[in-house]
Amino acid sequence: MGRKRMRVRVRLRLGALALAALAGVLPACGGSSDEAPGTAPSAATVRLGGAATYIPSGDVRNLEPAAQGSVTSSGPYMNAIFDALFTVEPKTGNVRPRIATSFTTTDGRTWTLKLRDGVKFSDGTALDAEAVRFSWERLRNGEVQAVASDAVRQMDTITVVDPLTLTVTLKAPNWQFQHAVQDSSTIWIVSPTAVRTQGNDDFAQHPVGAGPFTLKSRTPNSDTVLARNPNYWQTGLPKLDTLILRPNPDGQQALDTVLSGGAQAMYDGVGQLATQGKDAGLSAPQDYGMQGGVTFLFNQAKAPFDDVRARQAVVLALDLDEINQQVFEGGAEIPKTLFSPDSPFYDASLTLPVNQPEQAQALFDELAAEGRPVSFTINTTSGSASASYAKAIQTQLSTYDNVTVEVAQTDVPTHSAGLRNHTFQLASSGAQSVDPEPALYAALHSTGSNNYGSIKDSAIDRGLDAGRASSDEATRRAGYLAFQKAVIANVPAIWAWRYHPVGILATNVTGLHFYGPSSPLFENFGLVE
């Protein structure tokens, strides 16, 4: 993977998280409901009680699940307060139900959710099918300013069958719908009683969920202090009495804080901070790759990248391994294929385009001769790893003729607005998940909710549709092989680096389990005896 010993300061997490698409889960919904949701440490090594601090990559605007656009950045807060319906094993992709015991379909259109009996919110009311319906309905009915999610957009009707069973009918069949649910704010269920009593605005500040912790106090952009939920559905958990979430977007600062004992856990989105932490005696028990990667996305609706030759020229001109050395000291994994080798859809022969300077220059010259010189701006977020990456791209392209590049750095909201409004030419973005669903579908399908690059490629659509329309792995593999070929031909993006979520823990804590792109589960997080 090319991750080497890393000593440099990297400012990865903010940018990586701003870009990260959400993780999905693999299809084995309906797994054993009795299975312990988290990675439980040995009971003898963890003591009950005490306080520990986790460093998220950033703060959340408020504690309203509907307002969370990404499970990546909001996962620590939401999981601690609301728990989750599903989680997924990163290596296998198998679903491990938590509050829900199964989520199944027989036709791809009607999905049945079975809930665990006896789960209560911290206000003592029951988390039942009606609570799930209430939570999902308020995501799509405009009652709160919900961030539109792919899952909600696909829902047609939501029906409560009995207190522990709910069915959801989709507008179109989707055999992989569980991914979309797990990958959005639909996994966090709110207490209907609390919402009705408090009102939406107050609920966003004083949330009530069924997670292992409840809110004790909160200072925006500083500490969010959470106290043990005595009504938590997993008996004997959580281990901690107090969990403190202290955000810091600067990965190196976060690591230094953990090393100095100012916090006990954090995560790294690429892996080199984890290496640095392990060298210093910390533990990094989990490390898993994602499919896709952090990208620089071409806008195919605007010149010059409405011409595939311009996209090919830029990609062929870049030596991404050299950029890896410059930006990450060789610590990142540059995707050679769209899917990583541990994916069932991996094919070693389907390699992404690599550096071919002569061919790139020929394409630049050809376009210039036609009166279409390649001149563009790279949009990225200030101070992020993507900004450094963009400057490296600019520097490498400065050695070619007939290509000019500018770099525009903005704050995250401005950058996001530029993506949504398709006003960019080349912009840092992300299309990654454990499974191709839903992130790659959302980013690359012509009807995808995050198709910022205005991609309209029937071959890509067919491949993604085939992967979505079946639960059979062979059928899915065939679809995704065709999809990969289409992506290689279309060149929708520069696949900059592979996202590698990995937790970093101090020596005096254990039991922190991560899923998807860095969403932690805290119930087993505790202090070592």
Binding site: V8, R9, Q394, T395, A408
Partner: protein
């Protein structure tokens, strides 16, 4: 070296005897010379950057993060940065950028500030109140917040930066000129000009402004030094000159990530900023001293 021999007096209570002689040697202004030489060198390099044997500051010249003096080639004598670009080349082209931006901002700020200060100090009344309100408003805004706001609202560029830095200098120049105008307006020669029927404009621009300019000029080096630091701060925050153009602030910002393994990326531009600010402050102080002495004696 000239030596002035001062007349001596015996301190009270001192014993009588051979009178002691106290001498005051006029010290050579080494500080002024060094500061002037540094500023001249910097300005010379900045002006002649295009004809010096330097690499394009935007293009790579070798491997990334080469340490200084690993090669004595002009391009690499101060090493290379994260992207393999020549640090020496970027420092010199950065000097051009920084000096251009700060000189322009200082000039615009001085002109605007002096006009406002003259209006307030000479016209007084409503004009003084309006200008004072404007100045107080600008001064109430934290400078770095103001610059960040401007760089965020407007797209970062050389002109955006110049505009923001100009706004920072206007209040200082306006206050300085207002005070000077208030003082000079009461001088006898101004009163005499009034009595001869000179117009207000003539008095303002022919009598008061030329005399008060001395005060303003002595302030210029200090202002430029402050603006260089402000530009560096913005560049450090990623809101300065857009890449690939070189500026000292963006060089420091770019090198920050590699501080542990390639400290020269930060230390070289930081040292240049330090020396330049020190030199400008020294120049300002010496010029002020000399002009004040001349003003008192002359």
């Amino acid at each position: 070296m000239s030596t002035d021999v001062l007349p001596t007096t015996r301190p009270a209570g001192a014993s009588a005897g051979k009178p002691r002689t106290y001498t005051l040697r006029a010290r050579r202004p080494y500080g002024l010379w060094i500061a002037s030489a540094w500023v001249l060198l910097l300005v010379g390099c900045a002006v002649a950057a295009d004809v010096l044997p330097l690499a394009d500051p935007a293009k790579p010249v070798g491997r990334a993060r080469q340490v200084p003096f690993h090669s004595l080639a002009p391009d690499q004598i101060l090493g290379t940065d994260t992207y393999g670009r020549s640090v020496l080349s970027r420092v010199i082209f950065g000097a051009r950028t920084d000096l251009l931006v700060t000189l322009c901002a200082c000039a615009f700020g001085a002109v605007l500030g002096c006009l406002l200060g003259l209006l307030a100090g000479f016209v007084k009344g409503w004009a003084d109140r309006a200008v004072s309100f404007l100045i107080d408003t600008l001064l109430a805004l934290p400078p770095i917040i103001l610059l960040i706001a401007i760089a965020t609202i407007l797209r970062p560029s050389t002109w955006t930066l110049t505009f923001g830095l100009t706004l920072l200098t206007v209040p200082a120049f306006a206050r300085l000129e207002r005070g000077a105008a208030l003082s000079w307006a009461e001088r006898p020669f101004v009163l005499a000009a009034r009595s001869y029927g000179a117009s207000g404009l003539r008095i303002a621009f022919r009598q008061i402004l030329p005399n008060s300019l001395l005060t303003v000029i002595t302030f210029v080096p200090t202002v430029i030094a402050g603006l260089i630091v402000a530009e560096g701060s913005l560049g450090f925050l990623g809101l300065g000159i857009p890449p690939p153009a070189a500026s000292w602030g963006t060089m420091i910002a770019d090198g920050r990530a590699s501080l542990r393994i390639a400290p020269h990326e930060v230390l070289v531009p930081a040292a240049v900023v330090f020396l330049t600010v020190l030199a400008l402050n020294t120049l300002g102080e010496k010029v002020r001293d000399r002009l004040e002495i001349r003003s008192r004696t002359g």
